[in-house]
Symmetry: C2
DNA sequence: CCCTTAATGGGAGAATGGTTCCGTTAAGAT
DNA sequence: ATCTTAACGGAACCATTCTCCCATTAAGGG
């Protein structure tokens, strides 16, 4: 709850964007302010899941969050600002990595987590929207990158343990291997918009493992 | 020039979207109509390169293309419609695949083509925009998928020849291998927004090759 | 418990983006 | 060469989105 929005708008570059207070929500983050943020972010996620990023609209968010629209404009500034803060919020709620005892199992668990997330009607839509927003705005892109940095760091031990067990070469870069597992899934999700079947995830795991064993992901 | 826009808008689902003619530009694709399309698509690409997808605006496109804005609205309907048609247009201009004599060289050429495209200030921005648009609209997503289907089909022979030479197992799925080369690059481009260095492309090639040799991409 | 003021919220007004109308231009057919 | 009409384009029109002003509410400090 402390790394919330630093600057909501960046289309305008005026030194003092609003009337008084530097950035609303930081100086007096009392119960009401927090409640407003929660309601707005929930409404944002709902809207993204329902209608996607292109239809994201400040007024509607304000209405469905039961919040004054002035507040939404003041604190978040734009649809992209909403998504960016949603990303910060999502980065905070982390769920722990798997530990099946073997690298194959762990990577499979990771791939299936990604698959389940992206194929879930609600979450899939949210991620699509978030990726679209990141493509439109630099600040949002940073938030998205930070989100995945967090996620990947959580899973890195899976690879480190496997290296310790001798399943893969010693100097293997954990993040690099995890990215290799995710990449084919995200490629299909964002570029070719293909269905993410079980075969696809399995193949992603197999291929990444083969490359890792071959030393393709050695830290340089 | 024949597989141009089939239906420009799909936000509304009325059987006859416009006053008369089914879809403008198809019944009488004379010199003027073609010129207008060229001017509009060029202006669209410029706008995407300059300001990105979120700022894509029909009025401005019309103005900078030197075309009536009514025409732009009538033929393309929305910013997403513009991007979709631009994708159809891009799919038509194909550049041939490499043939260096070895699979490693060919895949490296492919990876570097992708990298050069995505790191090019103009083209990179266009692709970013196109990916964002595809995340917002189903029709646009289909156009993007078709674009990459075309591209990948052009490069498939590279893999087929390598299999014939015995560099990789016989039943290797060409498209699957090519996707494996591209995926890490696009993952960084769209998700983590990392810089695409030479090391990244090289690693993408090495990893994909190792997996291919290991039979990870065998057609099932 | 009261006071100060950060933060919210309603509503009016401005701006931007999108639509429609209808006259004009030129592609394709005879 | 002439005719028909698909397609274009200017301008007025309408809707939505955004911004600003100011009264109201409640967080945090005494």
């Amino acid at each position: 709850m402390d790394l919330m929005e630093q600057e909501t708008r960046l289309t305008e570059s005026q030194p003092v964007p609003h009337d008084h207070a530097a950035t609303p929500g930081t100086l007096r983050p009392g119960g009401r302010t927090a409640k407003v943020r929660r309601a707005v972010l929930d409404a944002t996620q709902d809207a993204l899941a329902d209608t996607g990023f292109h239809a994201l609209n400040m007024d509607r968010i304000a209405a469905s969050a039961g919040v004054g629209k002035t507040t939404v404009y003041r604190r978040w500034g734009s649809p992209v600002g909403l998504v960016t803060d949603l990303l910060h919020d999502m980065a905070e709620q982390s769920l722990p990595a798997a530990d099946t005892g073997g690298l194959t199992g762990d990577l499979r668990a990771n791939a299936e987590l990604v698959r389940d997330t992206l194929t879930d009607p609600r979450m899939g839509a949210v991620f699509r929207a978030v990726i679209a927003a990141a493509a439109c705005d630099e600040e949002c892109a940073r938030a998205l990158a930070a989100f995945y940095r967090t996620r990947l760091a959580e899973w890195a031990p899976v690879v480190t343990r496997a290296a310790a067990r001798g399943e893969i070469p010693g100097g293997t870069d954990p993040v690099e291997l995890l990215r290799a597992v995710s990449a084919p899934l995200y490629y299909r999700f964002t570029i070719t918009h293909e269905e993410l079947t079980g075969a696809v995830t399995e193949r992603a795991v197999t291929a990444a493992l083969a490359a890792a064993r071959d030393g393709a992901f050695l830290r340089e």
